[in-house]
């Protein structure tokens, strides 16, 4: 029998212990900077000794070989991270993931001009974008196989024409270039969005 007035029955105490450990794990998991014992004790209003003891248990449990992450004491606080022994394998795995198509703003602009105005030459792209430098971007798009050449235009200088590729269609989930939303359709959507916003304000 416990002689403390606030003592809980054993099962209940065990439950509370589990719940507190879980919450500590959750907090250490989400916080960006290592979170200190003091921050945890103060923020949760739990006794510092108890927080320390629970974290000790968490650290030990994460050491098990079947666990992929560990809790480490870093810069006076605690932080969850993957174990060093897995780093190489994780790095290898991340490389196998197909990254989503990412483009810089300049590349996206150029690609949109080519998509809607194809076939189109470099001077024409520059004219529409109002910028002198676009060749680097076109090279990037060619490298990514989003665009390809489509012969030469029969004007002075015979500049190369560019068009979008099959890969472009795949990346943007299109069956055909004719499926591109027309500018008119998009403008109607935008106008409607503006109109409705005004109505909501008015």
């Amino acid at each position: 029998m416990s002689d403390l007035p606030v003592a809980l029955p054993e099962a209940e105490a065990e439950q509370q212990r589990a719940a507190r450990k879980a919450l500590l794990e959750a907090i250490i998991y989400v916080t960006e900077d290592p979170v200190t014992l003091e921050q945890l004790a103060k923020g949760l209003e739990w006794p510092k000794e108890e927080v320390g003891a629970l974290i000790g248990e968490l650290v030990a449990e994460h050491q098990a070989p079947a666990r992929g992450v560990e809790i480490r004491a870093v810069a006076g606080g605690y932080k969850i991270s993957t174990k060093a022994e897995h780093h190489e394998a994780v790095r290898q795995f991340v490389k196998t993931l197909k990254p989503p198509l990412k483009l810089s703003m300049a590349a996206l602009e150029t690609l949109s001009v080519i998509a809607y105005k194809q076939p189109i030459t470099m001077p024409e792209i520059q004219e529409i974008r109002g910028l002198t430098a676009a060749s680097g971007v076109v090279k990037t798009l060619l490298d990514r196989k989003l665009i390809t050449t489509a012969g030469r235009k029969a004007v002075i200088g015979r500049p190369i024409l560019y068009k979008t590729t099959r890969e472009f269609l795949v990346q943007f989930g299109l069956n055909d270039v004719s499926e591109l939303p027309s500018l008119k359709e998009f403008e109607e959507l935008s106008r409607a969005a503006l109109g409705e916003a005004e109505a909501a304000l008015g």
Partner: protein
């Protein structure tokens, strides 16, 4: 009309919403709507909205017409039916539409609850520590980004002449905005000489020169010259985005060069 049925002027999303609300608040069975009562309550609401200058839109009028039509049909003797055939209820079509609408209202509430759960869980992926640094950052793009971007390019093209030929009244602030847009839209450094050559007249040229100096002072841009007498190019300073986060610097410029 019951005083407790005072129309709520907080917006209904549409006529079906209004009808559903009238039915629910009076605990009416949707399969046996007292069409005359509901029609008059509905029209009251419309009149009230009109007095308050609330524009309800065409769909409310359309449903009003439907209600009146149903009401008149119900007054006529029922059309004779063949034995074994159910007599057609003029209200059936509207009831179906209301139930359909209610169904998606419920679905929307379910989505809202799901979203609420998602708002209450956190994830802290650490993939950035495992991705090689040399990968170009860029934005993940979708088809909609493509259309949106093209629209922006065209809008810029439409507005461009204002900067370049508007002659005498070009201000330093305008030139700063012009430079800013150029830099935002370009990955590559901008060649100073090329943009100076595009200016028409002394005043825009002077304003552009002052704009370049201003931007250097604000730490929005840096000027680079590779070789002596080589081309001078403008690049974004690493503070570029920070500088343009607020309108303050622009307002200061507007005041400084009246």
């Amino acid at each position: 009309m019951d005083a407790s049925l005072n129309v709520r002027l907080d917006k209904y999303e549409g006529p079906l919403d209004l009808l559903l609300d009238l039915i629910r608040r009076q605990q009416i069975n949707i399969y046996d709507i007292p069409i005359a009562t509901i029609t008059s309550q509905y029209l009251d609401y419309m009149r009230h909205a009109e007095q308050m200058n609330v524009d309800l839109g065409g769909e409310f009028v359309l449903v009003a017409a439907t209600l009146i039509q149903i009401k008149s049909k119900m007054l006529l003797p029922a059309e004779p039916v063949l034995p074994g055939e159910e007599p057609e209820d003029p209200r059936a079509e509207l009831v179906h539409r209301m139930l359909e609408h209610e169904k998606f209202k419920n679905a929307a509430q379910m989505l809202q609850q799901k979203r609420l759960i998602e708002e209450n869980v956190w994830s802290n992926p650490q993939i950035s520590t495992f991705v090689a640094e040399d990968e170009d950052p860029g934005l993940a793009v979708s088809l909609i980004d493509l259309v949106k971007t093209f629209e922006q390019v065209l809008a810029r093209a439409k507005n461009r002449p204002q900067f370049e030929v508007s002659g005498d009244d070009v201000t330093v602030a305008q030139q700063i905005r012009y430079l800013k847009n150029l830099l935002v839209a370009s990955d590559e450094p901008v060649v100073l000489q090329q943009i100076f050559e595009r200016q028409q007249g002394r005043r825009p040229l002077l304003a552009l020169f002052l704009a370049v100096l201003e931007l250097v002072r604000m730490q929005a841009i840096v000027l680079r010259q590779q070789d002596t007498y080589g081309e001078i190019v403008i690049r974004k300073h690493k503070m570029f985005d920070t500088v343009f986060q607020t309108d303050e610097p622009m307002l200061a410029v507007d005041e400084g060069y009246v």
